[in-house]
C-alpha cells in the first residue's frame, strides 16, 4: 500500500487501515523537477508488482485527474503484462462544483492546468466557465516545500485581457476536514495575486451572454 496525501490525518487514517502502508513523499527532492519525482513514484509502485505483490496506490483527490504517476504506473504495469486498474475518487473540481453551486452543463466548462494554460494560450470561450488548476504553483516546475507561483502575474494579465480587470473570480480550496468549510475567496481579477493559496484552484465565472 502506497499513498500520497496532503495532510497528516489522511496519512494516519491510511496507516491505520494498513500499518504497512508507506508514503510516496520521499520521491520528492527539494529543488528537483517534479517529473523526476513522478518517475520515482512509478518505480516505487511497480517494484513490488514485479516481485509478485498485490499493490494499491492511493492519491489525494481523483487518482486520474491531474495525477501523472498513477496513469504512468498503470500503463507501465499493463505493458509488462500485469493487471492494473484505476478506481475513481472525488477531485477538487468535483468539490468546487458542489461548494460553489456551479453546474458545468449550464455554460460549458474549460479546465486547464495553469502553467500549461499560460504556455499554450488556448482560445478561451469567455461565455463558458473556466477552471485553472494549480494556480498556487503557476510557472513552477520544481518541487519546493515552500510553493510559489512565479507566473501568477503573467496569468492575471492574460485573464484581464479576456475578462476585464474587475471580473469577479473565485479562489477555491476544498476542505480536507469533515464539517470544515472550504476556502472561498471572491476577488476581482486584479486582486487575485493576494488571494491565492498554495493549494488553490481558480474558478472564473463566465461573462454574461449579451
Amino acid at each position: 500500500m502506497l499513498y500520497l496525501v496532503t495532510d497528516p490525518i489522511s496519512a494516519e487514517g491510511i496507516e491505520r487501515l494498513n500499518p504497512r502502508a508507506r508514503s510516496l513523499e520521499s520521491c520528492y527532492v527539494e529543488g528537483a523537477h517534479r517529473r523526476e519525482a513522478y518517475g520515482r513514484m512509478v518505480e516505487a509502485i511497480l517494484t513490488p508488482v514485479r516481485a509478485g505483490r498485490r499493490v494499491c496506490a492511493a492519491f489525494y483527490g481523483h487518482p486520474g485527474v491531474f495525477v501523472l504517476p498513477s496513469h504512468q504506473a498503470i500503463e507501465q504495469a499493463r505493458r509488462e503484462g500485469y493487471s492494473a486498474r484505476m478506481l475513481p475518487g472525488v477531485s477538487a473540481e468535483d468539490c468546487l462544483f458542489a461548494d460553489l453551486g456551479v453546474d458545468p452543463a449550464r455554460t460549458g466548462c474549460q479546465s486547464y492546468e495553469s502553467t500549461r494554460f499560460l504556455e499554450d494560450r488556448p482560445v478561451v470561450e469567455p461565455r463558458a466557465a473556466l477552471v485553472l488548476w494549480q494556480i498556487g504553483v503557476a510557472g513552477s516546475s520544481n518541487h519546493s516545500a515552500e510553493p510559489h507561483a512565479p507566473a501568477l502575474d503573467a496569468l492575471v494579465r492574460v485573464l484581464c485581457t479576456i475578462y476585464g480587470d474587475d471580473h469577479e473570480v473565485v479562489v477555491y480550496e476544498a476542505s480536507r476536514y469533515a464539517g470544515v468549510d472550504p476556502l472561498v475567496r471572491r476577488v476581482p481579477l486584479n486582486g487575485l495575486a493576494k488571494a491565492v493559496t498554495p493549494a488553490s484552484t481558480l474558478y472564473v465565472p463566465p461573462l454574461a451572454r449579451s
Binding site: 500520497l4 496525501v5 496532503t6 495532510d7 497528516p8 490525518i9 496519512a11 494516519e12 487514517g13 496507516e15 491505520r16 513523499e25 520528492y28 517534479r34 517529473r35 513522478y38 492519491f59 489525494y60 491531474f66 495525477v67 501523472l68 504517476p69 498513477s70 492546468e113 502553467t115 500549461r116 504556455e119 499554450d120 488548476w133 494549480q134 498556487g136 504553483v137 510557472g139 513552477s140 516546475s141 518541487h143 516545500a145 510553493p147 480550496e173 476542505s175 480536507r176 476536514y177 469533515a178 464539517g179 470544515v180 468549510d181 472550504p182 476556502l183 493559496t197 498554495p198 493549494a199
Partner: protein, 88 residues
C-alpha cells in the same frame, strides 16, 4: 470564544488531529453530522479538546485549522502540498 487572532499551537494541532482521526469511525461521523455543535461540546466536556480547539472547529477557517494541524510533529510529517500533475 472567537478564533480571531488565532496563534497556532502544536497542542491544539494534536487535539484537532485526534478529533478528525476519531471521525474516521463511522459511528462518530454520523453523530458529528447529526448534531455537530453537540458532538463538539461533548468532546470539550470529556476533556478531549479544549475551548480554543472547540472555537476553531465551530468558527475557524480552513486555513486556521490547517495552520495548527501542520505544527504537529512526529511520525506523520505535516505536508502543505504535493503536486502530482506535471508542469507541461
Amino acid at each position: 470564544m472567537e478564533p480571531e487572532n488565532n496563534i497556532a499551537e502544536e497542542r491544539i494541532g494534536q487535539e484537532l488531529r485526534q478529533f478528525f482521526l476519531d471521525l474516521l469511525q463511522e459511528v462518530n461521523l454520523r453523530q458529528y453530522h447529526d448534531d455537530r455543535e453537540q458532538y463538539i461540546a461533548d468532546k470539550v466536556e470529556s476533556g478531549l479538546i479544549g475551548e480554543r480547539t472547540s472555537a476553531l472547529l465551530l468558527k475557524g477557517t480552513l486555513a486556521q485549522i490547517e495552520e495548527n494541524i501542520m505544527l504537529v510533529t512526529g511520525s506523520h510529517k505535516a505536508v502543505p502540498i504535493w503536486v502530482v500533475s506535471p508542469p507541461y
